[in-house]
Structure formats: C-alpha cells, structure tokens
Chain length 402, copies 2
C-alpha cells in the first residue's frame, strides 16, 4: 500500500493545508525538506536559521523526518565552519521514489527518481502508438512500470506515486484524457486501464515539460512560457513558480492561436492557427518531406546539410511562432520563453526568424528566448519529479508509511 498524494499535489507547497497546529507542523516539515533538498546537506542549526524557526523546533521536525526515512544523518560536518560542528543532514536516497511515465506517439518510457532527484531505474519501449486503443497501450505501460518499480525496490526505494505524461488534453480530474488527436483517444479515463496500485496522476506532456524546466533547468525564472512540439504545438504557462492550468485544464493551446485569421482551416474549428504554419504536417509539406516517425531528426539532418527548402520551411515556421508568441508575451509578460521538445532540436533554424518577429513587434527590449537543455527528456523527468515534489511539499502524507 502507498499513501495517496493527490491531496498534497493540489495543495501546491502545502499552502492549502488547514491552519491548525497540525497543519503548521506539516508545513514546517515541508520547509525542512525543501531547505535540505535545495542545499544537498545542512546542519540543524543551518536549517533553523534558513527557515526562521528555533533550533529546538527544527530538532523535533528533523527527528520525525529521520524516523520516517525521508532524511538521513551524514555524521559530523566537515571542519572549517564557524561554531561547534553539527551533524549534517541529507535527503534520503532510499524511501519514497517518484515514478514518471510517458506515452509518446512513437514510444513508452518509465523512470524512477529518488527524493534527491537521481534517476534510479529506467525502461523504454519504441513502438508506434498511433491509433492504438488505450487499453493495450496502458497494459504495456503497466509492464514497464512493474519492471522499473522492481528495480527501484531492489535499491530500497518504494513508489510514492505514478505520474503519466500524455500528448493530449487532460481533464482537471488528472486522469481523463479528453482528447489526444495523435493517439486518437477521446474522453478516456486512464485510471481503470492502468493495472497498478500506485496512486496515479495524468497530465499533458507540455505541462510536465514546463515543470521539468522549472525544477531542473539552469536559472529558470518563476514566470515563463514553455513552448514544445512533437506533432502538435503546445505551451505551458508558469506563473510565480506554478503551472497555469485554466478552468478545464486546457490552458497553453498556443497551437490554436490565430496567426493569419484568413489562413487555412484547422482541425480545431478555427482558421489560420499557428499549427497550420508551424505544426509537423505544415512544415513537412513546405519542406517537401513525408510526415512520419523520426521527422524531427530528418528535418534537422536536412537543414544541417543546407537543404534550402527545409531551411525555408523552418524559417517560415519560426516566423509564425514569433507572431503567436508576440501575442502571448503581450498578454502574459513572462520573464522568458523557453523552447523545449522537438523545438529545442530544431532551434538553430527556427530561432533567427522567431526572434526577429518578437523584436520587430516590440517597442522595448524583446522577451528573451532560450532553448531547453532537457529537450525531449522534459516530460518524463517532469512527471517523475512531480511525485518527488509532492513528497517534499507535504512529507507528512508519506511519513505514516514507514
């Protein structure tokens, strides 16, 4: 049995916990975990000064976290520090792990990440899932999950939650895929289809990609727009370190922002949407290539070799992205735009025209655009880390387990 994490997930950094003595204790347990997690290792005195509690309160909290296997004692601190040496504490490399999974159009992937953020087990299966029903895909995913969990358990870890990234819109129940056009799934509750007793959450791959960037990126700000593409174009909006989900959970549909309002009709019902100029099909058509698996690599290869038609197609896609992003930047005033997923791999040929649009259409300094270091790994890592963050945000939920 594992403890339910859904409550703590929706609570963010434990802020929505009840404002009682008990709630305060839970929030302070989270503060201790986050402080130690951010620094790698810390003494009780350093924790106390960092989070503004007394040494005595911190000792009580630390004792509980050690007893439940979330923190571990490293022994006396290295000399050379001021004051008498305290014993350094570190986040446990055993105990709870986050299981992340990704349902891609061309692959399935699962990994286990410990509370320190290290990947401890991993499994991938390449196979086209296009048009396959959700049932068999989920059964196959469950096999990979079992393999990864078995491997993690061998190292003293246990699964605190399973988060699945899908290429589609997910309802606010964090389980139902409302529509995933490239898998051809609609209104599919993945809960009953995934035979596992690990607490499950499902989210859009663009959302998990953005969260990965927030948590694992280099100097990522707390306000940014993350744009990614595999076959569709998705974006995720991070505001004040939180994902903006929208009323139905559908926020971030950059692909359906009108770029040329009288342009070609789009599957969404609109006309001239960004996807009609910068989506996979549009770019393929303009580049004279056949759509199919591995297209991003093929585009990059051709562009690298100097294929003028491919380069022009990518340049035009960059222009369309720049127009749509100008609108998004005017609405959201983010600190930066980050290109992730397939866009990261194609950025050398997209960026010049994209940045030119953003600059030309802005009076002041244009919003800076950067390229994600995580690339296509983002969604899987974001999924696994979302479980880890949920444990750090409310350690009391798993504390009862050990």
């Amino acid at each position: 049995m594992t403890a339910p994490l859904h409550e703590s997930r929706s609570a963010g950094s434990g802020r929505a916990l009840p404002d009682t003595q008990q709630g305060m204790r839970r929030r302070n347990l989270a503060r201790v975990m986050h402080a130690v997690s951010a620094e790698g290792s810390l003494s009780r005195a350093a924790i106390a000064s960092r989070i503004g509690l007394t040494r005595a309160s911190v000792s009580t909290l630390v004792e509980e976290l050690i007893r439940t296997g979330l923190l571990e004692e490293l022994g006396p601190e290295r000399p050379g520090r001021v004051g008498r040496p305290g014993s350094a504490l570190a986040v446990s490399g055993h105990g709870p792990a986050g299981i992340g999974a990704e349902v891609g159009v061309g692959h399935l992937a699962v990994c286990a990440v410990d509370l320190r953020g290290e990947i401890r087990a991993r499994a991938v299966r390449r196979r086209s899932n296009r048009g396959r029903p959700a049932g068999p895909v989920m059964r196959e995913l469950a096999t990979l999950v079992r393999r990864v969990v078995t491997e993690a358990e061998r190292e003293g870890l246990w699964p605190a939650g399973l988060a699945v990234a899908v290429p589609g819109l997910v309802g606010r129940d964090a389980r139902t895929v409302m529509r995933a056009p490239n898998l051809d799934w609609t209104d599919t509750d993945l809960g009953p289809l995934l035979p596992t007793d690990i607490p499950l959450t499902v989210d859009n791959e663009a959302n998990f990609g953005a969260l990965a960037e927030l948590w694992l990126g280099d100097d990522t700000p707390g306000d940014f727009l993350h744009v990614s593409a595999e076959i569709g174009i998705g974006a995720a909006i991070i505001v004040g370190g939180q994902l903006l989900r929208g009323t139905r959970g559908f926020a971030g549909e950059l692909g359906h922002v009108p770029v040329r309002p009288d342009g070609p009709p789009c599957g969404c019902g609109g006309r001239g949407c960004l996807e009609q100029f910068a989506g996979e099909e549009a770019v393929c058509r303009a580049a004279g290539l056949e759509p199919g698996e591995g297209l991003v690599g093929l585009l990059a290869q051709h562009a690298e070799k100097g294929d003028a038609r491919v380069r022009r197609a990518l340049r035009d896609a960059g222009t369309a992205l720049g127009i749509a992003l100008t609108g998004a930047v005017n609405l959201l005033d983010p600190e930066s735009v980050v290109l992730g997923g397939a866009l990261a791999a194609l950025s050398p040929w997209l960026l010049p025209s994209l940045e030119a649009e953003l600059t030309d259409r802005t009076a002041g300094p244009a919003c800076p655009v950067s390229v994600s270091r995580l690339g296509s790994e983002g969604p899987l890592l974001g999924a696994a880390h979302s479980v880890v963050r949920a444990v750090l945000d409310d350690p009391a939920v798993v504390a009862g387990r050990v």
Copy 2:
C-alpha cells in the same frame, strides 16, 4: 498616522505570512473577518463552524477584532434559529476605510469605501488631463482626496490606504507609471508628487476594473479575462481569484496582440495589433467621427440611431476583438470573458461579431462572454476595495492603530 498596508497587499490572503504562532493568529483573524464580511452578520458559533476552529479560539479572535474596532456586536440574534441565541457580529461601519482614486484622461475621481463595502464619500472633477504634467494633476487629486477623507472622518472612519488607478502601465513597485500614452507620462513616480501621508499604491485601471468585477460582480468566476477600453484596449487576467501581473507588471496587453500580422504599424513597434482595428482612433476613422472626449457616448448614440457606418465600424472592431480573444482563450482557458469600461457601453454592437469569431474558431463550446454591470465605475471601485480587502486579509496590520 496610518498603518502600512503594502506588506499585507502583496501577501494576498495572508498566505505569505510567517508560519509561526503569531502568523497563524494573523491568518485566523483574517478568516474571521472574511467569514463575517461574506455573510453580513454571524454569531461566534457560526463563525467557528464555518472556519473550522473551536468556539473558544473564535471568541478570543473576535474579542481582539471588536477591541480594535473592526467588528461590532449587533446584540442577540433574531429568534427562530436553532440552539441558544448568540450575539450576532457584523463588520464595523466605522474604523478603517479604503480611499480609491482614478486618474482618467477626462476626469479625476476619489471615493471612500468602508469595510462593509459601502461608498461613504465621493468627489469628482471633470477636466481634460491629456498632456498635463503629472505634478499639477497629482496636486489636484490630493485636494479631492483631502475632501473625501475629511467627509469620511466626520462619519467616524479613517483612511487605511489610498489606491490610485491610472490609464497606463505601472511598475511592480506599485508607484511608478512606466508609460501612460494618453496622459503623455513616462517613468513617473507618483509617490513624491501626491502630498498625502496615507499609504499609497498605484495600479493600472484595467487591473482595478478586473478586481472590482471579481469582488463585486454577479457570480463572477475565479478565472476570467476582463477586457476594457477607454482609449487604448487593456485586459486583465484573473487566475484562481488572483490578478496575473506579469514579470514587469505589464501583463494583459491585449491591445498589442497581432490580429493581422501584415496590418498597419502600431505605436508599440508592432504591426496589425488589435488596437489598430478596435482602438478609439481606428474606430473613429472607420466611423467617420473626430476623436475626442465623450466619444464612447457619441458612438453609442449614432449606433442607436442606426448609423450604418458607425455600426459597421463597431462590427469590424468586434471581429478584431474576437480574433484576439480566440488566441487569449486558447492560451488561458478562462471560465469567461467579461467586457468592461467603454466596451460595456458599446457591447450591443460589438458582441454579435465578437461572439461569432469566438464560436467559429472553436471546436467545442465557445468561452462565454458577458458584459460588466460596473462599466466605467470599475477602476475607481476596484481601487477603493483593494484597500478594504487588504484590511480584511490581514486585520492585524491595522489592529494596532485604534
């Protein structure tokens, strides 16, 4: 002397207060105030059951709030309720008041709102402020503020804060007008220019208009996009009951979303921005009218009479608004779009084409559009209520004063 409210303002609903016994007491004082404020009057027992604290804890909190003049005892509750009668409590109609002010292109306005949300004093001066330097405008505003405060004091109120709405972009310091094109102000810190000792905050009129809609509108959801226009077109984004401000405080610039990317150049540096199709100047030109004060009334008057050119101009503006809003709705997935300010008055002629674009460009049900009941009163009311909310959100800040 008045207590500083800035700290509590930025803290939102007291969530960012320190997590100590003292912080918990402050948050619980806020819960009591909000519970009573939401219901008009409540007994101690009803408060306790509503906020999930013991009757004894609530009594202590209530005692403090009565002593500091924020709550008042109404006497025994009306019979007919279950249980022994408790004394009903109400938010005080004396004590702190929020002073709201608005700098319009054609007027200055100031009002005082008590903690119950009632307007208790008001002053307006009509005069064009276009091109006037900020110094004399602020001195004139200070005179109106003094008049309103004097009137409020006569009724036993005292000013807890002054919030000023301006038609321009305001920096995150909540004092500096970065640019207000229709006043011709740039980088102007209003702090030193406004001779008053009341704690001051300055914000964009669209932001205050949206907050007024959130706090005072009929069944306004917690996630909506508020679109308003006087001369420029502004929007404000409310997510989870909070204003999305953006990194520099510039979020909501719907007027500069590209609608037709190859369209006419815009003052912002872009081309084909929404303002070039739906801003005052563009609509005037298309309608064959001279720009100037009172234009909204004039447009409505002509449209009412059936002037075909004016109606066509408003229809085309509605189409452009619909295209820009389709993009915004795809990005933000709000529960609704609310038209405020001048757009509310012109909505009979804007709405049909606006809604047609939103519907035609959406596969599922289109995002509902409603018209604000507050209209052009929104920014002034939002400003005054922002001070009132700050007191309700952290009563401890003003409690020391009485």
